[in-house]
Symmetry: C2
Subunit: 377 residues, 2 copies
């Protein structure tokens, strides 16, 4: 996560002080002969990919007639040569401008930017249009409802006609990497109903939105669902990764079908526990909801004075998960660093805020002051 | 890693004491509404998948004419719909009975057992036969050389004729999950030459074999290569994951092409550093080479007395990375637990040893005694 670091020298994403020396005296000190560089891995893409695997297993089990029905000899032999029916002709449906990770399965559902996808083989899985809402919301009620209805119709069309039928739909509560794109709770409730109607799963990707920043612990808490998502994936702020689920049919029916060496890293599960305890102790979710409201109002004020600079301000009622479009986004981000604010972008032209949960009103004041200073000069 | 735990109650792979309570009081305490179960992720499959991504980018860059040549508009637009040329029709070649992980790209190269692959969509990538050597090696020199030559010929045939041309070959120094299958250093040197000849990459997957257990820090150190592998992947014993490389052309030529949230987890890089320091301080690699020789000799002795029980004993000179085939493997593993030895299997019928690096001669004595006890009764 990037965070708004105020009045401090701009920092990158990594522990910059001794990371190089940790690598040099550690990993690189045992580099194989002739190799002198290293790329380290391990990330939240796993959370989504294991959720997808669970979805494929669930659908095939259902098609097979239940978890007591054994694989056929043909399934077993074809799986070993990566062919159907063992490796099934099924898919995961995702949305345009969505981001779900960078490994081969997750990247096949990522649709945010070409730079993430170029040169990497991908599955021919379907994508639907994410409803692109217009702001301010209250002035575009009909248009926005229409955009959401069209998106849902496209989802249903793809579910029923795509040559690789989806066994699940994956969606972010707020498309984060892809530009901080929001949709209404009604849209998500309708999507839940649609996936239920067609007997496929709904996977909510809360890798970016989860753990408090939207003013709820999980962003999808804002939707008031009566029927919960089938799976919710998490990573980032959780400092660990995985997916929640409730349906016993999503449990692997045999050993070793879903498995990895550390099963999520016990040490990091302890970290997440400590993070949760700290959040509860300081009531940081409600705190973030309040500070977010304060921050949003301040930005709304500024946007009235500089309507050319802050366009499509969004994230009202979503804690500090706030963004706006800027006609000179990259320049703005650079100027922001000059006034002591380390801030990031999403999509093609959004400035998006991702402060830490301990971000307070007086930090918001410094941020607002800095933003206005940029517009003034 | 499973390890031979002697004279202690048999333990599983996980911290059994308070893992459930860590989950309950941590991750599960914030489960989204309606969901009450969790599957945690994060594993070494990432190491292989990021290496594969680097290989695809490298090959496409080469085909494009170098890292200064920009993507075409067609590449950019086709990548966003998961189609060629942006999502290229290229592949990674792997070997039958190989294991390289469980996510969508890595699983497409895994060929060890159907249970890992069933119900999961896969890329139609090529697989070559791994030479299946006969033991004792010195009695089957010609047959084994022939098996290796045939495997290399098949690799070359697939490189030159497969509809999805491989940009890399991935191979384990010892096929671990797939049955502890070894090949000669000459085979691996020839494979290195073959990949060089056809201008594709050699990725050595040392996730299981790396970090000392074979009596070298990396198992491929046994091959005496003059031309190192292009990439070496690691995880497990390293307590972190990633790949080593040497060629600057394997570095991403633009930001965000290879990236993940924690870039390998700095905390775990510190752990790996401490592990390396401990290994060096206690000279554990040489120690393992010596104990392995002692253990191998002991098993060889027993195999002479019980030739029906210990077949195809292998791993001579490979530290404690020793295995044999058993005509009653699963029964043997169960009986072993009864005499205080927690031991695992690989492939269909191999008993494989994976003791920790601190395994000593007196542990080997207990193991040998236990094994003989099983055969006697």
């Amino acid at each position: 996560m990037t965070s708004a670091l105020i009045n401090r020298p701009a920092l990158g994403n990594f522990p910059s002080s001794d990371w190089a020396s940790i690598l040099r005296t550690g990993i690189l000190s045992v580099a194989p002969k002739g190799l002198n560089q290293v790329f380290t891995g391990m990330s939240g893409s796993d959370a989504n990919e294991t959720a997808y695997k669970a979805a494929f297993m669930w659908k095939r089990q259902q098609q097979r007639g239940g978890h007591h029905v054994d694989f056929t000899p043909e399934e077993i032999s074809s799986s070993m040569i990566n062919q159907s029916p063992g490796a099934p002709q099924l898919s995961i449906l995702s949305f345009k401008t969505g981001f779900h990770g960078r490994l081969f399965g997750s990247l096949s559902t990522t649709r945010s930017k070409p730079i993430h996808k170029l040169d990497i083989p991908a599955f021919n899985w379907p994508q639907a249009t994410f409803p692109l809402l217009k702001y301010p919301l209250e002035e575009h009620l009909q248009e926005n409802r229409k955009a959401e209805e069209e998106s849902l119709a496209e989802v249903e069309h793809l579910i029923t006609t795509h040559p690789l039928p989806p066994c699940a739909v994956v969606i972010e509560p707020i498309q984060s990497e892809g530009g901080d794109n929001h949709a209404s709770p009604a849209f998500f409730r309708a999507l839940r109903a649609l996936t239920r109607k067609h007997d496929i799963l709904l996977i909510v990707d809360e890798v970016q939105t989860g753990v408090g920043a939207t003013g709820k612990f999980w962003a999808h808490d804002h939707w008031n669902l009566t029927d919960p998502p089938d799976m919710v994936t998490f990573s980032k702020k959780a400092q660990t990764a995985g997916y929640y689920f409730g349906n016993n049919d999503l449990r692997p029916n045999k050993p070793y079908r879903q498995f990895n060496t550390w099963m999520g890293d016990p040490a990091r599960a302890i970290l997440f526990r400590a993070i949760i305890q700290e959040i509860q102790k300081h009531d940081l979710v409600n705190h973030t909801a309040n500070v977010g409201e304060y921050l949003y109002s301040g930005l709304e004020e500024i946007s009235k004075r500089y309507p050319g600079e802050i366009q499509n301000l969004r994230g009202k009622g979503q804690g500090t998960f706030i963004a706006w479009d800027s006609p000179r986004r990259d320049e703005f981000l650079k100027l922001a660093k000059g006034v002591g604010i380390n801030i990031g972008g999403s999509g093609e032209r959004a400035v998006r805020l991702r402060p830490m949960l301990i971000f307070q009103r007086h930090h918001a004041d410094i941020l607002l002051e800095g933003v206005e200073k940029i517009f003034k000069t």
